[in-house]
Symmetry: C2
C-alpha cells in the first residue's frame, strides 16, 4: 500500500453490519476515488453476531483496539449504531495508546458513548457524522460520500454549516447523551455548542431526556444547544401537543441555556459532520 | 371530620386519572373500613388534561403543594405514573413546608422523580408502592388494599419481605432512576439496598439504563441491588439472549455492586411497599 492512500478501519462496537452493506460502501469508495481509492478495511468483527451485538463484548473491544492502536490506519470509522458501545467503554478506553490518539474517529448515535469517553480522555480528532450503514437509507450514498470526503480529503463542506474554528462543538443523540450523564464517559462540554438529534423516540421520552440533560449542573455551562432533526417520532398517547422544538426551547429556558436554533444533523442522509471540540482544517 | 380518620390527599403530578378510577378506589376504601373509612380526597387536578399531563405544569405543581402543605392531610398519595413529575421538581421542591415533611407519601414509577427529590431533601416518610390507578389492573383491588393498609394502619405486612429497620432501602423504576442521575433530584443512596423494577422497556434499554446506574460513581456505594419484576418487555430485535436478571447480574459484577436477588416489586398487583430510608413502624 502506498503511504498516500488513506487507510480507514471499520469496526462495529454496537450492532452488526451486513456484508452487503460493506460491499456497497467499498464499491462507492472506488467509484468516488477512481485514481486513488481509500483503503477501507472492514474488520471481520463487523459481521459477527452475539445476541444484540456484533460479537460479544470482548470480541468487539478487541477489534476496536486492533484498529485504533494500529498506526497503519489513519481513521477508525464506526460501522453503525444500534446499541452496545457503552458495554466496552470501561474495558477499552484505558487500553487506547498514543497511536490511537493520532487517528480520526467518525460515527454517531450509539457511537456517542465511545466518542464521549474519548473526548473526555483528550482525543482531538473525533467527529459526529455518517457511518457505513447509512448507505442503506434511500439516497444513502450522499451520506457515505460526505463521510468519505471528510475522512479522505478533510473536506470543509462536509461540516455542519455553523461549525467554526472559533467555538468548540459537540453533537449527540439525545438519548445517548442522557444515558452517559454521571458515568465515566461524560465529557466536560462547558463552553461548547451542543447539537442534539433523535430518532424513533416518543415525545415524552425526548422531554424526559432533555430534562435530565438540561438539569445536570455540568451541562448548564454549555454555550448553547442546537436541535437537530428528531425523526420517526412514534405517536404519543395522548397527543403531546408540543413539538420537539417546543420542548427544547422549554428546557433551555428553564435551565438558562441559550437555545441557538436548528442544527443540520439527524438520523438521515443530510446528517452533516460535527467535530468534538474546535475544528481545524488538516492538510 | 373526626381527627381519628386518616386523611389522604391524592394528586396527579404526571398523567391524568379517570374519574371512574377514583370512584372505584373510594368504594373499595369504604368497603374495607366500614366503621371508619379513611377520608380520601381526590384533587380535581387529577382529572384535568393538558396534552400528556393532568393539567399544565403550574396547575399540577399547585395541586401538589396544596395537599402537601396542608396539615389536615396525613398522607399524599400519587394518583398514577405515566410521565411528568420531573417537570415540577425544580418549581415544587423549594416550596414544600415543614408541614409537608410530616406527611407520608406513596407512589412509584414516574413518581420516583419527586420521591427521589424529597428523599434528597430529607423527607423521612416516603415509600414506593401501589397507587390508585393500580385498581384498574386485573385483581387490582389487592394492590390498593395494600396501599391503604400501609397508609391507614401502617401495616407491616404491606412491606416488601426483606425490608427491615436495620438497613436503609429505596426502590425505583429503572428508567426513572437512570434519568434522574446528575439532576438536582438525585438522592444519596450510599449504603442502601436499592430495589429496581421495569415495565414495557426492551432489553437493550434495560441494559443501557443499568449501565448508567451502575457506572455512576455515587451508585457504586450502595449496599446492593435487588431486581424486581420487569414485565411486558417488548421483543428485542434481534433476540437479546439475556434475561433481565442476567443483565442485572452482569452490571453488578462489572461495578462491584452486590447483587442481592429478586425483590417483590413491579408494575403489577403484587407490588409490595418499600420505604425510602430506614423503615420504622408508626403507631
Amino acid at each position: 500500500m502506498g503511504q498516500d492512500r488513506v487507510r480507514i478501519g471499520v469496526v462495529a462496537p454496537a450492532s452488526r453490519l451486513e456484508q452487503t452493506t460493506a460491499d456497497s460502501v467499498l464499491q462507492l469508495a472506488e467509484a468516488l476515488y477512481p485514481a486513488r481509492p481509500p483503503e477501507l478495511y472492514f474488520s471481520p468483527q463487523c459481521f459477527l453476531s452475539s445476541g444484540h451485538f456484533a460479537g460479544d463484548d470482548e470480541t468487539r473491544a478487541h477489534a476496536f483496539l486492533e484498529v485504533a492502536n494500529d498506526e497503519r490506519f489513519d481513521a477508525l470509522w464506526f460501522a453503525r449504531g444500534g446499541y452496545g458501545s457503552c458495554r466496552l467503554a470501561e474495558r477499552l478506553l484505558p487500553e487506547l495508546t498514543e497511536t490511537a490518539r493520532r487517528k480520526a474517529y467518525l460515527g454517531y448515535s450509539d457511537a456517542g458513548f465511545l466518542l464521549a469517553g474519548m473526548y473526555k480522555a483528550g482525543f482531538t480528532r473525533l467527529a459526529h457524522g455518517p457511518m457505513p450503514a447509512d448507505i442503506g437509507r434511500p439516497g444513502g450514498d450522499a451520506a457515505v460520500r460526505r463521510a468519505l470526503s471528510f475522512l479522505v480529503e478533510g473536506a470543509a463542506d462536509a461540516l455542519e454549516a455553523t461549525v467554526s474554528p472559533n467555538k468548540p462543538t459537540a453533537a449527540f443523540n439525545i438519548t445517548v447523551l442522557s444515558h452517559l450523564i454521571g458515568t465515566m464517559l461524560e465529557p466536560d462540554l462547558t463552553g461548547h455548542i451542543v447539537m442534539l438529534e433523535e430518532v424513533a423516540e416518543a415525545m415524552y421520552r425526548i422531554d424526559r431526556a432533555l430534562f435530565q440533560i438540561t438539569s445536570h449542573a455540568a451541562m448548564r455551562g454549555v454555550a448553547g444547544i442546537m436541535l437537530g432533526r428528531c425523526s420517526a417520532i412514534p405517536a404519543n398517547q395522548p397527543d403531546f401537543q408540543q413539538t420537539e422544538e417546543d420542548v427544547a426551547r422549554y428546557w433551555c429556558r428553564r435551565s438558562h441555556i441559550p437555545y441557538l436554533g436548528r442544527a443540520d444533523i439527524g438520523h438521515d442522509t443530510d446528517n452533516k459532520i460535527v467535530p468534538f471540540g474546535r475544528w481545524s482544517a488538516r492538510g
